[in-house]
């Protein structure tokens, strides 16, 4: 029996006056409708061309839930010889609140054979992730989420290599919310412990 129906029966039985929590919740959603993110169509970079951006990166995932508290990963990218596909490994890193900040925590996430398009874009379906709470800068709880990243590799032009884009999908645990509007940025580095994170495409 659904809670709303149960409440209705209780109201009938008891002739109890009922508060209007649904209505007041709806009022808030109406007031904030224009403030909510779109699908983040403008969060990606302009299309470019494929390049071999194999290497090690610090990847920062900035969620709509807390854009200034990104999840950090040590990322390894391996682009195949003909630039048609890439392999991606993401290792969650401990938050600044942990005893060893930016130390690896939990199991790495491997995505193999991601198609790498001629314009430099790729879409990597990370599948259902389980990330330890030690890597969660928002609530410290373990995370279970279905995530897909839509990325673009950017030419280095004398700067550290970068790839970036938006993250889509749904977080199921500890809180259920849509990732739409979330972004990520990855900066090439030899030392993830000291590199400043990039939260989105520049």
């Amino acid at each position: 029996m659904k809670p709303a129906f149960t409440a209705a029966i209780l109201c009938l039985l008891a002739m109890q006056a009922c508060t209007d929590t649904d209505g007041r919740y709806g009022d808030f959603l109406d007031r904030t409708a224009t403030l909510r993110s779109s699908a983040g169509d403008d969060a990606g970079a302009d299309a470019g061309e494929r390049l071999d951006f194999s290497g090690e990166y610090l990847l920062a995932l900035s969620t709509v839930l807390a854009p200034d508290a990104p999840m950090l990963f040590a990322a390894e990218v391996e682009v195949n010889a003909d630039l048609s596909a890439l392999n991606l490994r993401l290792q969650p890193l401990a938050t600044a609140q942990q005893p060893n900040p930016r130390a690896p925590v939990g199991d790495p996430i491997d995505v193999l054979g991601v198609p790498y398009l001629p314009d430099g874009r790729f879409i990597a379906a990370l599948g259902t992730l389980t990330v330890p709470g030690a890597a969660n800068p928002i609530s410290g709880s373990d995370i279970i989420a279905d995530v897909e990243i839509h990325g673009t590799s950017l030419p280095a032009d004398g700067q550290p290599q970068v790839f970036c884009g938006r993250a889509l999908g749904m977080v199921e645990v500890p809180l259920q919310f849509d990732l739409a509007g979330s972004t990520f940025g990855a900066v090439a580095t030899g030392d993830v412990a000291t590199t400043a994170p990039l939260l989105a495409c520049p």
Partner: protein, 490 residues
């Protein structure tokens, strides 16, 4: 979700229509008339452990045995409740202040997080009960009743909104309660057996509790009270929890006529509803920051209500005067915490166990437990002393004074559930329209001592999943009750 969220939320139109009918009929429970949120005041001056009216189904099933007629009782308590909560800047999270400074909105943000929240609710609580020997003329007597022993509802007043902060219009109490209901309705059945020689009646009761928690509050994923992020984007969110459940409890009691026609002594016990931890099931909906509103997730919610001991006496030294003294000891210490977790959790007790700092004792449940509401309440006691004066066979005047202690420590006092030490002052009258019909009216002022918890550590010092925004502040409340009852006896 489309911009017309109001229309989308009205999928509960049948419920809204039902509730409109309910409001017109004017029935709803009151709040915190005894310790904690025990709200039993039905029966007026005759709602005690030593009275033999059908209200005894709850107060003392043993007392039913002393009635010798068929009886039906209709009782209504109207309550005018006024409450306020004042929150100061010291209760605002440091991280919230940093974000507001980063966005250049500190002054306006503090206005949206502090100030005084108020509520004024006029609600009613019904009681319907009956008792009879079914015409069998045996020492056995049965009773049944519907009543509201726990809980109530509250709707904090809306305030002037803020263009910059969309949530501000729901007031500074919103981090704990915007609008909601925490309530248990009860259907009780009782049986009493009278022993003529010792002038003693013993009774047992079985009660079915229908419990409901339906609350809306402001909430952020990190347990803080942030309004915006440093870039000015929306941070404040909302959580809507709607859960319900059915539980059972038992009661026992006795009434002893220690001195014939002069002195009666009563003693009763009501068990905890659910005989321990109650598990309610339902849904949780969240909207956090700029993320899309989440679909309703199945959840479980646990709570522990108290068991209650009652003791009382009524003494009639002269024909026209009756003196009364009664008390209760309510074990609110059972209310250690409330816990909200995913419905997939099999062992809520293990999942929700926490350490002193509020973190989970078993971290493997980190992904399952949504929020732990630390309560750590204390046992309460109440006492009431009064008297009745019988002007004639038809007219009775009554008056009493009472005291009920506070259940909630400073650290856990919040705008969702608050309690204080309280004094009650009652006066009323009963009039027998005939041998079969009596009406009664009682007016009670419940005076609550205000509480100032500013400067005390609160829920902001706890670790997740127990962490909540700072709950310090100045709490005040007053309730005026009007109880009216009809009793038919044949």
């Amino acid at each position: 979700m489309t911009p017309t969220h109001r229309a989308a939320r009205r999928r509960h139109l049948p419920l809204a229509a039902t509730c409109l009918l309910c409001i017109l009929l004017g029935w709803a429970p009151t709040t915190a008339l005894a310790g904690g949120y025990a709200s039993a005041r039905f029966g007026g001056a005759r709602g005690t452990v030593v009275d033999t009216t059908p209200a005894a189904v709850y107060y003392n099933p043993g007392a039913l045995g002393f009635d010798d007629r068929h009886a039906m009782m209709l009782d209504l308590t109207l309550a005018l409740r006024q409450a306020s909560y004042r929150r100061d800047a010291a209760s605002v999270d440091d991280s919230t202040l940093r974000s507001l400074r980063g966005a250049g909105m500190e002054a306006a943000g503090l206005d949206a997080l502090t100030g005084e929240a108020t509520l004024q609710n006029l609600v009613a609580s019904p009681f319907v009960g009956a008792s009879s020997d079914l015409g069998l003329e045996t020492p056995l007597r049965l009773g049944a009743a519907f009543f509201v022993p726990f809980g109530g509802q509250s709707a904090w007043d809306r305030q002037a909104g803020s263009d910059a902060f969309a949530g501000a219009g729901d007031g500074p109490a919103r981090w704990y309660n915007i609008e909601g209901t925490i309530r248990s309705l009860a259907l009780g059945a009782a049986a009493a057996y009278r022993l003529p020689a010792p002038r003693l009646s013993l009774g047992l009761s079985l009660t079915t509790y229908f419990s409901e928690v339906d609350t809306l509050r402001a909430r952020n994923a990190n347990g803080g009270d942030g309004l915006v992020f440093a870039d000015g984007s929306l941070a404040e969110g909302r959580s809507l929890m709607q859960v319900s459940g059915t539980d059972y409890g038992v009661g026992a009691g006795l009434l002893w006529e220690a001195l014939a026609q002069r002195l009666w002594l009563g003693l009763s016990y009501q068990s905890q509803p659910g005989l321990g931890t109650m598990e309610l099931e339902g849904t949780l909906e969240n909207t956090f920051a700029t993320a899309s509103p989440s679909p309703a997730a199945d959840v479980r919610f646990t709570q522990q209500l108290p068991d209650i001991y009652r003791l009382g006496a009524r003494y009639r030294p002269w024909r026209r005067i009756e003196l009364r003294l009664s008390g209760d000891y309510t074990r609110w210490s059972h209310m250690d915490q409330m816990c909200l977790a995913a419905a997939r959790v099999d062992d809520m007790g293990r999942a929700c166990a926490t350490g002193a700092d509020g973190s989970l004792a078993h971290p493997e449940y980190n992904a399952d437990v949504v929020q732990v509401f630390q309560r750590r309440w204390r046992d309460t006691f109440g006492a009431r002393a009064g008297g009745m004066y019988f002007l004639s066979q038809q007219v009775e005047l009554n008056a009493s004074i009472g005291y009920d202690s506070n259940a909630i420590p400073d650290a856990q006092l919040d705008a969702a559930l608050f309690d204080m030490d309280k004094l009650t002052f009652s006066a009323g009258a009963n009039y027998a329209l005939s041998d079969a019909l009596r009406i009664g009216v009682t007016l009670t002022e419940v005076y609550y001592a205000s509480r100032d918890t500013r400067g005390s550590p609160g829920n902001e010092t706890l670790a997740p999943p127990s962490r909540q925004p700072g709950n310090q502040g100045v709490y005040a409340q007053n309730i005026l009750l009007l109880n009216a009852g009809l009793e038919f006896r044949q």
